[in-house]
Amino acid sequence: MTQRLHELRRSLLVSLWFMLLTFPIMVIRVNTITGTIRWRWSNLALIGIGSFVISVVWRYAMQRKTGEVRATGVFAQVGARVGAGAEKVRTVLDSPKVRVRLVSGLLAAAVAYPFLTSMYHTNIMITALTYVVLGLGLNIIIGLGGMLHIGYAAFYAIGAYSYALLNMYFGINFWLALPIGAALAGLFSLLIGLPTLRLRGDYLAIVTLAFAEITRLVLQNWQQVTGGAAGIPNIPRPQLFGMTMRLHQTTTFVYFIMLAVVILTIFVVHRLENSRIGRQWVAMKEDYIACQAMGVSIAKAKLTALGIGAVWGGLVGVIFAARTTFINPASFTVWESVIILSTVVLGGMGSIPGVFVGALVLMLLPEYLRPFAQYRMLIFGALLVTMMVFRPGGFIKKRRKAYTITEAEKQSVIEAGAEADEDTEE
């Protein structure tokens, strides 16, 4: 009981602290023209009550996280049930049969989607899928390669501009631009990667940010070639055997292109993860000195991760340009890179389903939260912080392939060891 009282007292103190802290900005509103002050006392009450409640919940969640408190009563039951449910889902999911069914069900739903909903929803879904691919691409660099990259939007921009410019100057069509854009983005990533091989961690992060900004500023200021800040209008939409399509047909068409790219990305990333090079990346991420000692070329591993990761940005960049038919440098700012990074980390670094879910949630939620548009970014920021505090692994944590040693195996190893000892004794 005293424990509870103590807790409540602490929460009360926290709420008083926040009331004091937010006082000037939340309560005072000065109108400098008329020279009057509006005291918004209701805000103070709001902050007081809000921070008290949040503090209670926060502390409880914190104690749960560190294992200081076990849930009791209803919470325990619910918790146990959720836990058991999650465990069940996991085991069920592990069965290949269920997996295949689940994936085919998802695919069927994805294919049916544009026919069941309006063009608007299809369009939003295209945006969300775009971020799925961007997230998965960046995931190769960050989640697998362990290189902190905050300039991914540059590759997206390069893809978009390569299609727009190649089309404008040489009339190259969408299908041809698709591989060219992807290749250019990959090549550009390698070019940045080469001189910065020695950089690690935060130094690499800031240099990638610098290169992304340089790219954007050049696109913005090189008026003669790129159209500058005004951007490039009238980019043709994707064509299919020269058919003339109406707008909503094109939208559906783009949706299917996007879906195909998503499937391709998931397939490739999945295969990469379990390949020789994928293992090298993960080894490099975990401990790069040990990795070098094992004979892995760090330079090669880094460059392949950078190159292969960037290709996806270029690929969806081309699709982005073809879809909006208009691009300008303002679409590729630092914030864009930060959002892509957030989808990866929120979803779960290194985990394909995680990034998938992260991108869908981050892109779809704001679209359907339009009524709260004012508070959208505020909620988004708070969500990022709480997620990192309570679930730093993201929505879906990466599960490493692990080999569990059975008792029998353990025993045989021990016996073998004993025999070996005996051998040496002789």
Binding site: T32, I33, P96, V100, S104, L107, A108, V111, A112, P114, F115, S118, M119, Y120, T122, N123, I124, T127, Q220, N221, Q223, G228, A229, A230, G231, P233, N234, R237, L240, M243, M245, R246, L247, H248, Q249, T250, T251, T252, F253, F256, L259, A260, F320, R323, T324, T325, F326, I327, N328, A330, S331, E367, R370, A373, Q374
Partner: protein
């Protein structure tokens, strides 16, 4: 097993994709006439977009009270694009999906340009109250686009003429904020000056919005001995440029466009704002239609109408009038009516030329005098 399934799925996918392309959309037949209003209704630029919604609502209410257009009631569908091109594409798709016969919007030039592709393909007329980028009407790609505001080249023309004829100066520094609007304006001004004799552009450069210090650019302006600065951009950078120039004791004149014609500029720049020139749409607030519109706004919403209110009011009137005159909501009829009929609006009587620019709207030169903008007489 797995591989087989995915192959089957791929096949199914392709078949369905084919089916998707065969199906054609069927136009919805509704009793009501739906009009879209698109623009920034939330976020930083909301203050530019909300007045258009109010204006459109007022005009639509007026028509509906008088029995509607062609005897049918008019309904507004309002969609937010936060002034971002990539969002505007979604917004446009939503409006097209909702079956609108015309759109009032979008607000920002970039968003308008991105959305226009969708509207062109769907054959929907679009009237923007505020997109001033010249290429929207001049590149000939958008036969469905109209606007009730003059384009930026007209502003630049007026600025250059003013510098030559009224101020009689010959050394001009042209600055911009590297943005779509600001740079466009500055380039027109530079080109117009280069066509004239006896006046030179002594410096042409961009400033970085949000940078902590502009003294490097100011140094160069001082170095170039420019007598006047023509600036393309918005008021936050303008007030700092003017402020730093006056701090240094420079008396170089400052001429800018409607991005600076904002009371915030005068408040922030303070004494330095005094004497600054800015072009902006002609003041038609004494026009009887405008007076009436503003009064109805005050009665309905309780405050003064905001930016582009009258332009949006005019745009909505023009659209509904065109449908009424054409007695049809078909694309060809409406656009023809927009080009051929003249309508009485708060901006005066207007009609549209072949490119989609309104005839009869233009800019005036304003100057800050004693802490407020005053329209300079011709």
């Amino acid at each position: 097993m797995k591989r087989k399934i995915s192959r089957k799925l791929l096949l199914a996918l392709l078949v369905l994709a084919g089916v998707a392309l065969i199906f054609a959309g069927c136009a919805r037949d509704e009793q009501e006439i739906a009009i879209g209003v698109a623009g920034a209704h939330s976020g930083d630029l909301a203050s530019y977009g909300i007045p258009s919604v109010n204006a459109a609502q007022l005009v639509v209410d007026m028509w509906n009270e008088n029995g509607g257009v062609m005897g049918r009631q008019v309904r507004l569908i309002v969609e937010d694009d936060v002034c971002q091109p990539e969002v505007a594409v979604n917004t446009a798709a939503k409006l097209v999906g909702d079956g609108v016969v015309g759109v009032i919007g979008h607000i920002c030039s970039g968003a308008t340009r991105a959305a226009l592709g969708t509207y062109v393909d769907s054959e929907i007329p679009v009237i923007s109250p505020s997109s001033t980028s010249p290429s929207l009407t001049q590149d000939g790609q958008h036969p469905n686009f109209f606007r009730t505001i003059a384009s930026d080249d007209a502003q630049a023309r007026l600025q250059v003429d003013f510098v030559i004829n009224e101020l009689g100066l010959s050394r001009v520094a042209v600055l911009h904020d590297q943005g779509d609007y600001g740079r466009g304006l500055a380039e027109f001004a530079r080109d117009f000056i280069n066509e004239e004799s006896g006046i030179d552009v002594v410096m042409f450069d961009g400033v970085t919005p949000g940078a902590v210090d502009y003294s490097a650019v100011i140094n160069r302006v001082a170095q170039s001995n420019a007598e006047v600065v023509i600036y393309g951009g918005y008021h936050p950078e303008a007030s700092r440029l003017v402020g730093q120039m006056r701090d240094r004791g420079m008396e170089t004149l400052f001429v800018s466009g409607d991005g600076v014609m904002d009371d915030t500029f005068i408040r922030v720049a303070g004494a330095a704002a005094e004497g600054v020139y800015a072009t902006s749409p002609m003041d038609t607030s004494t026009n009887p239609v405008a007076v009436n519109a503003a009064e109805r706004h005050r009665a309905r919403y309780g405050d003064e109408p905001g930016a582009f209110f009258l332009n949006a009011y005019a745009a909505t009137q023009a659209l509904l009038n065109a449908i009424n005159v054409a007695e049809s909501t078909a694309y060809a009829d409406v656009t023809a009516a927009l080009r051929n009929s003249t309508v009485e609006t708060p901006l005066g009587p207007i009609s549209f030329d072949e490119r989609g620019d309104a005839t009869g709207v233009g800019f005036s030169m304003y100057q800050v005098q004693n802490g407020s903008y005053v329209e300079l007489g011709n």
